[in-house]
Symmetry: C7
Subunit: 81 residues, 7 copies
């Protein structure tokens, strides 16, 4: 398996301390450094920025995102956002 | 880890007694002092104010917010709202 | 802590017998005297009145509100509605 | 407490055999005699009638209403519907 | 109690083998003979027909309906649909 | 009982290896051979084809359908789709 | 049974390391190599690409997709997307 990912949460675990892209059901995207997550996919980002149309719109600093509003999380896409 | 945040709820715990920004699924934002929260992310704010377009719209005082209506919570963004 | 609120439900407990404002996901607001609540945030109001645009629209008397339709509950805002 | 209501379901229990008004998330209202309910707020009405704009629209007789479609239940408002 | 209905599922139990009307959240209605149900209100109808505007639209024969899409079930209204 | 169906899942069990019609909440319909299902009504179809307006639109081969997106499943209607 | 699929998750298990097509409730489709999944149907894709109108739109690399946003997963359709 790539990067030792056997369960879905392994990807989030390996992304701790790194920038991730979070796509919300509302259509908004957040980029920030993943500090923590749980089994509900609640996540805490440091230096969280809302992205719209590829541009940074608002900075929120330390932010708690509720898991049930998340569609997908991509660590590698964060650098492109 | 930044600020000793190992689990998502650690951020909420460290924000007790401080101003937080709460983004609801309805599109509304609340700002207020975090008094209490639980694992459902139900929160109680003191001096809760509804924000729209960066302006305070309505004051609700002590307010219970049901967790399943919350998208994200940001302690540091509250001062900018 | 303000008013001894350590858990979110403590606010509802302290509001028993008092007027509260309940905001529903449908956009409607109810005002009434809180008689009872449970962990699902199901609530029973006495003298429940539906509010629209700051005006009382319909009186429902004793009313059971299902918790999953509630966005927020504010005891102190009831007097202003 | 009014009418001995300490928990939300106490109101439904005291309304058994009486006419109640049920507001659904779809916007429809039902009026009928409450025969039974459970903790999911599933209810069975006898002589159930759909109400629209204050007028009776359709009669359904004995009807099972699934709890997760219900916004509120008012025993006292049934007589006015 | 009418027809010995003490719990909501008692109505469904007494309707086994009879025609029922099922209202779905999508706005569609089904009529058919109730063969089976469970606590999730999943139901199986025999000779299931979709109804639109009081007219039969499509016949589906034996059909499994997922409970979480159901608003209400009326045994007595089936004969009128 | 018709076909020995006492519980809703009995219908799905008897339909294994046969063509079924699956109606999704999105409005789309799938037809395919039922290979497997579970208590969440997750299903696997072989030779799955999306149907729109009575015409086959796309073939997906072996396909996993998540149960919470399903409205109804009809084995006998598959031959007519 | 085709391919030894007795339970729905058997299909996902047999698709590990292969390209799959994932249809989301938002209308978006993802194609990528399935690395991991769990009982919530959370999945991790490697080399994930968003597909729109049959064309690749965005590449996300390693991506975590939350199960509750998924409608269907098709391993064999991935080569056609």
């Amino acid at each position: 398996m790539v990067n030792g990912i056997e369960r879905p949460l392994d990807l989030l675990n390996s992304a701790k301390g790194k920038e991730i892209l979070v796509q919300l059901k509302t259509g908004k995207q957040f980029v920030g450094t993943l500090l923590a997550f749980d089994i509900h996919i609640n996540v805490v980002l440091d230096n969280a920025r809302e992205i719209e149309g590829g541009e940074q719109k608002t900075s929120y600093g330390l932010t708690f995102l509720r898991g049930d509003t998340i569609i997908f999380i991509s660590p590698s896409a964060a650098s492109k956002a």
